[in-house]
Amino acid sequence: MISIFPSLLSGAVITLQLLVSSMFFGLIIGLIFAILRINKNPIINKFAYGYSYFFRGTPLLVQLYLIYYGLANIEFLRNSFFWVIIKEPYWCAIIAFSLNTGAYTSEILRSAFQTIKKGYIEAAQSLGVTKKITFYRIQLPIAIKQSLPAYGNEIILMLKGTSLASVITIMDLMGEARKVNVLTFKPFEAFITAGIIYLFITFIIHNIIRYFEKKYGFQT
């Protein structure tokens, strides 16, 4: 049990790297698409809806395979400088995870934007605050605060999602656990230890989110 611990921990580091980078890019993508979703132009609106529908309606594994195996099939991508990125499974995983979490994040933020009381915006308007400042100083902070609990769940879902990276040869926590299982034929030790590490990470994320909720919690 103890001997497999170091290799699993080195996998956990990769898992955390994948999680942090995909959450970072996912948040940016989610924010952009949330803003597009509340746009009144029907074409922009539909486009953003289609994006989130596709990524929420298909399994993450399909998205991962599409990007890892599928993109390599396109001739001009292979000849362009993108090839440097998409030939690496690590970057493919980050792209797939970011796009996936971006879709969910955009939905979370959109519903947060839509539940903001009209009174706030009207008050800002009557005070002569410009639209831009209303958005950055009033709508955005309230939306972020309101979506904290749902976003916390999304982080945990994504943590579980990163385990799929192991099927495209990345040695994350799940990949290391699989390797241990193959080398030692002790599935219970390998997978239960990995499960405990996953639970531990989940527990920490949960508590960090709870801390932020308490600190910045917003009552309307």
Binding site: Y53, F54, G57, T58, P59, L60, L61, V62, Q63, Y65, L66, Y69, G70, L71, A72, N73, I74, I156, L159, K160, G161, T162, S163, L164, S166, V167, M174, A177, R178, N181, F185, P187, F188, F191, I192, A194, G195, Y198, L199, T202, F203
Partner: protein, 230 residues
């Protein structure tokens, strides 16, 4: 399009049966999940501390570890456990547990954890007055559950169960790692033998989108049907 034709030359019929397999596994997993949920929901709501902890452990652990881990544990661990049990009875050969059963069980355990949370929420949202009223009327505990709580619980859980169904449907794609030929596995095979992964994984994505879209339509109908009179 030639690649999708039915018969020996195309992958149409294979993908069609793979889609049926995905639906079958999802339904089986959902049913197993219901059984788990019906066992663990009372535990989570129980006033007994020990039972409570057991119920909470189930939902917390299953929702905190990756789905893939549960599948691997059952797939690799299940074979080992079955062989161990068989060796006690004097059988030393290799036993392979059916991929469909392990897959459905693994996804069932996962969807059961989500269903438990849904049922718990639904029961908690039933007005307390109804419990009190049935008590005052002298209705027995089990009749109270079957005739008053259960019907309302099911109606209240339909919207959230539709989410669980979507999660379950998408989770079945993970069973492909164990070799069960459902949509994902079939597209993997097709992509491998035709060297056209982009096309076949796009087809897989479209198939999943179709399944989620159609099931949403169906569930919405159910929701309207069962919320009549409210």
């Amino acid at each position: 399009m030639e690649l999708l034709s039915f018969g020996d030359t195309g992958w149409g019929d294979e993908l069609f049966f793979a889609t049926l397999m995905t639906i079958a596994v999802s339904i089986a997993a959902m049913a197993i999940g219901f059984i788990f949920a019906l066992i663990f929901t009372p535990l989570k709501l129980s006033k007994n501390k020990t039972l409570n902890v057991i119920g909470n452990c189930y939902t917390t652990i299953i929702r905190g570890v990756p789905e893939l881990l549960v599948i691997y544990l059952l797939f690799f661990g299940g074979t080992g456990a079955a062989m161990y049990v068989a060796s006690i009875f004097g059988y030393d050969g290799y036993i392979e547990i059916n991929a469909f059963i392990t897959g459905a069980l693994a996804i069932g355990i996962i969807s059961g954890a989500y269903s438990t949370e849904v049922f718990r929420g639904a029961i908690l949202s039933i007005d307390k007055g109804q419990f009190e009223a049935s008590k005052v009327l002298g209705i027995k505990k089990n009749i109270q559950f079957y005739k008053i709580i259960l019907p309302q619980m099911l109606r209240l859980s339909i919207p959230n169960l539709s989410n669980v169904w979507q999660i379950t449907l998408k989770d079945t794609s993970l069973i492909s790692v164990t070799g069960l030929v459902e949509i994902m596995r079939q597209s993997y095979i097709a992509a491998g033998s035709t060297r056209d992964p982009l096309f076949f994984y796009s087809v897989a994505a479209v198939l999943y989108l179709m399944l989620t879209f159609l099931s949403m339509k169906l569930i919405n109908k159910l929701e309207i049907k069962y919320s009549k009179g409210y």
